[in-house]
Symmetry: C2
Subunit: 380 residues, 2 copies
Amino acid sequence: MKAVGLVTEYNPLHNGHLYHLATAKQLVNADVVVAVMSGNFTQRAEPAILDKWHRTKAALLAGVDLVVELPVQFAVQPAHLFAHGAITLLDSLQVTDFVFGAEHADWNFGDLVAAEDQFEPVNFSHFNATYATLFNDQLQRQTGIALTEPNDILAFGYTKANLQLATPIQLHAIKRTGSAYHDENIDDQINQIGSASAIRKAVTDGNLAYENLVPPQTAFNLKQLKHVNDWEDLYPLLRYQLIQAPLTYIHQIYQMSEGLEYRLKRAAQTATSFREFMQLAKSKRYTYSRLQRVCLYTLLQVSTQEMQVRFKTPYLRVLGFNHSGQKYLHQIKKTVKIPIITKVDVELKKQQLQLDYRAGKLFEQLSASEQDLRRKPIIV
Amino acid sequence: MKAVGLVTEYNPLHNGHLYHLATAKQLVNADVVVAVMSGNFTQRAEPAILDKWHRTKAALLAGVDLVVELPVQFAVQPAHLFAHGAITLLDSLQVTDFVFGAEHADWNFGDLVAAEDQFEPVNFSHFNATYATLFNDQLQRQTGIALTEPNDILAFGYTKANLQLATPIQLHAIKRTGSAYHDENIDDQINQIGSASAIRKAVTDGNLAYENLVPPQTAFNLKQLKHVNDWEDLYPLLRYQLIQAPLTYIHQIYQMSEGLEYRLKRAAQTATSFREFMQLAKSKRYTYSRLQRVCLYTLLQVSTQEMQVRFKTPYLRVLGFNHSGQKYLHQIKKTVKIPIITKVDVELKKQQLQLDYRAGKLFEQLSASEQDLRRKPIIV
C-alpha cells in the first residue's frame, strides 16, 4: 500500500483541508492518507477550538485513513522544530510522499535550504530584533527571496528536515488556495474556502457564516461548543503560576531565556487579562507566537531538561483510523522502529507520554473531558 | 497607656466579638485595645469571607484601636504555631494583658502545659492516627482532662508560648458565650450571638437571618458580596498545580510529609471539585484542617526552607488604627524591637513580606482587588 502523508492542525477542519486532501491523494495516486495532527495545542500555543478526538473524527469522516498525534514537544514549536518532529513521524510511518501547502509552491525550497550554509554567523543576543527577522535578512541577501509567509516557512523547515533522513520522502508543495492564513474576514470567501482563523473568529462571534466553509461534522461540533477555548480562559492559571512560583523555578522553563522570567513575572502582577498581559510582556525581541509558547511551557512547567528528554524519545500515538488505515498500520507494524501507542496506561502517562498527558490535563481544565487515560483510537 | 491584646480572625466580625471586646476592655481597665488579626486566610486555611481591609474597618468601627496582621506563616498553622506567632506579636506590641475566649475558661491551662513535660515520647509515624489524637490521649492520662474544643486548644497554645517570654503577658481566659464554633444552625441564637461559621453559612445560603448577629458595617459588606470566597473557587488552581508540577517540586512544600504528595497528586487527577478531592485525599492520619493547610501551602508554593526563613523574621504589619491606636503606636515605636510596616513597597514585597504578598495575590484571584501594594492603613 502506498501512503501519502499530511501534516495538519485541522483547527478546525474546513473545505480548504478537503481540497488539500483530495489533491494529495490524486497527485501521488496513494492508497492511504496518513495525517500527522497537532494534539490539543497548536503551533502558536493556542488551545485548539475542538479537542483532538473531535478533530480526529472529522478528519476520518473527511477521508483521512490514519491520524497520528504530533506530540506537544514538537507541535508547539517554531517552524523548524515543528517540521523536524512532523518529518520524523512521517518517516517512521513509512510514507513515500508528503504533500503540503505553501504560499509559493513554485519556489525551490531545496535551493533555499542550501543557501543557509552560506550565512554569516550572527550573535542573536546583540540585536534587538526577533530571530526570524535576522534569518530573513540573510536569506534575502543570499537569494533575493523573502521567506515571510507561514506555510512557506514551514515548507522550508520540512525540506531541511527531510534532507537529514537516510531515505528522504518525496515532497510536493501545492499552492494554498482561498484566504490567507491571517485573513479574518469570513465574507466573500473564494469557492467556499475560508481560513481557519476566520472560521474560529466567526465561531467566537456567533456568526454562523462559517457553516458553508466546513464539512457537516465540524459544523455540528462547533455549534455544540458551549465555550470557545482561548488564552483568556487559561490566564488565571498562568497568572497564578507566574506570581506564586519562585524566579529560580520559572527560570528553568524551556525557552525562558535572557531574563524573560522577570518580564513575565512583572507583567502578571498587574495584568488582569491575557490581552493586557501580552501587551506588557511583548517587546521587539520576541514574536507574539514565541511569547505565547513560553506561556504554555510555563503552564506545563516543562523545563529545558525535560524537553531534551522528550525530544529523544519519539513515538507514534494513534488517534484514529478507518479500515484502510488499520490495514496500513498492520502492514508497517513490524518494521516501525519507534513505539506505536494506542492506549495510554499509567506507566506511559508517567514516562514517555508525560508531557502530552499534562497538556491534555491542562486542556481538560477548559473542556472538562479527560484527553488521554482510558481513551481508545477513534474507528470509523 | 495600658493596652489589652486580642487575637482574632473576625471572619466575619459578629456580636460575640463585640461582647469579647467590651469584656476585655472592662476586665483589664485598658486605655487601648490592640487586635492581632489573621489576614486573608484563616487558621483552617480558608479564604476569609471578607478581605483583611474590610475586616479591619469593621473592627475599628466596633471599638478596636489598633489592628495588626498576623502574617500568613503564623495565621495558617495548627494551634501551637498560631499561638506562638500571636503571642510574639502581642509581646512586641507591649500589651500588658491578653484576653481570649475558651470553652473551659476555668481550667488552669498552666497546669496542663506543665503536664506535657511528663509525656512519654511518641513516634508519630508508627500510628495511624492524627497527632492531636495522640497528644490528647497522653494529656487525658496525665490530667484527666480532654483538650478537644478549638478555643481550649488555642488557650493551651497561648499559655505555653507565653511562658517562653522574658516577661510573660497577663493572660485572662473568658468563657465563650453563644453558639459553639462548629454550630452551623443560625436560628434560635442566644442573645443575638451566632458562631462565625453559622453566619458564613447563612451568607452562602442567602439567608438574611445573619443580619441581627453582626454589626451594621459587617452586614453592609456581606450584603455587597457578589461572591462568597471558598475553596471550590481555588480548586482549579490547586488542581492545576498538583497535576503540572513535578513530584520533586511538590515534595519540597512545607508540611508535605510522608509521601502525601503522591496522595494529593493522585486525587487531583480525577477530582473535579474540591469536595471530591478532599474525600479522595482524606485519611485517618490527617485532620481536614491539616490537609487544607497543606493545600494552601501548595498553592503558595512555600517550601519548608522558605517557611523557616519567614519564622525567623517577625514584623508588625499595621492594617489600621483610630486616634488612640495611633497615639499608642507612637508611644511604643521607639522601643519595639521588630520592624513596623505601614506600607508595602517593592523591596518588602520581594523580601520580608513575600509570603503575605503572595497570599494577597492568591486572594486577589478571588476578590479582584490588590491586597498589599499601594495600600495604606485604614484610619477611622
